[in-house]
Symmetry: C2
Subunit: 203 residues, 2 copies
């Protein structure tokens, strides 16, 4: 039973894939087990409930995403360049998902936030912590960029507005299955940062 | 059976309330009927499926929202003031929802877009049409504002970026059940429009 050692990982992966494309409510433990090729009895050996699995999926997803984000944000370039790389990479990720699997997969954390915030306080709390951490990573890069004189001192809501812009455009990219909607993301981010060259007012 | 004449409306209202708070997948026809006080047999008199009901809910929701949006956007004020009123009203709507029902209710259309885009092409198509129309309403106001010399000529993605900012901040407001997150919305929108006064660069 060599496969049993990877059963937990297969369950996490199967649940993540299913939740990315179809959310939480329409997916049952049986379907997750079938996709993961794990017996239903084994499921409850690893997770006490679908809720517990969901939190583990969210944690695993954020662990991988945070590693990718910090690898970029801790790079040697000026802070504003690192931020640009981070935002362009989010667009690239959706483009790759469409190329490899045929569909813009969107953002698992946003999907679950909209669906579960009002019905599952444990998942809600975990997602809130993760988005706070995500916004904090952006905030730290903004503080660095301001320290380097590349952007004006960020206002309190700026980091959140950047992540909101990302999530909003990812929503439209997912809805239209069109990753090119995200091509505009960095330009919008520069406007939110007050660093884009505004066209002259046509007065 | 005087109530039967309102059964369809009660079903729409019950489904809308349930989908706002819990999405689509976890809600069944039986629960919708129970909340609407309509017998399950009657449900299929009005709607051939949960999908058909969902499209009717989406249509009814957008019809009401579009009426509210156009009432503001067709007002007598300068176009930029109308746009500001529209965005401030979105924040107010979430604040009222929390005051009256205890919870920021978020955006039904965004909830369903993230959950259903990859599993229900009829709902996906309808939502895509509605968001295109919504972005078009904002675009028309931007064109008016540019014609009045109040903002620079909008770039192609500007209207979509404004609605994306709205949806992104609504997501965070819903996740944290905190409508004050939207207090910042108009300020962010002005940055995206290139009309906000940027603080001086701290060079």
């Amino acid at each position: 039973m060599g496969r049993s050692s990877t059963a937990r990982e297969r369950l996490l992966e199967a649940a993540c894939e299913l939740m990315l494309s179809r959310g939480y409510g329409s997916i049952g433990v049986a379907e997750i087990c079938a996709r993961a090729d794990v017996r239903k009895g084994s499921f409850y050996h690893f997770f006490e409930s679908k809720q517990a699995l969901t939190i583990a999926v969210v944690d695993a997803h954020w662990q991988a995403q945070r590693a990718a984000w910090t690898a970029i944000l801790n790079g040697p370039e000026p802070a504003l360049d690192r931020l640009e790389r981070l935002f362009r990479e989010q667009a690239e990720g959706q483009r790759r998902a469409k190329l490899s699997g045929g569909a813009v997969h969107g953002c698992l954390l946003a999907n679950l936030a909209l669906e579960l915030s009002q019905q599952d306080s444990r998942v809600q709390e975990r997602l809130e912590e993760i988005f706070t951490e995500q916004i904090g990573l952006v905030q730290a890069a903004l503080d660095d960029a301001a320290g380097e004189g590349a952007i004006p001192a960020p206002r309190p809501g700026t980091a959140r507005s950047l992540v909101a812009q990302l999530e909003g455009l990812v929503l439209f990219a997912k809805l239209s299955n069109d990753p090119e909607i995200l091509d505009d993301l960095w330009e919008q981010a520069r406007l939110l940062l007050g660093t884009a060259a505004s066209p002259a007012l046509a007065v």
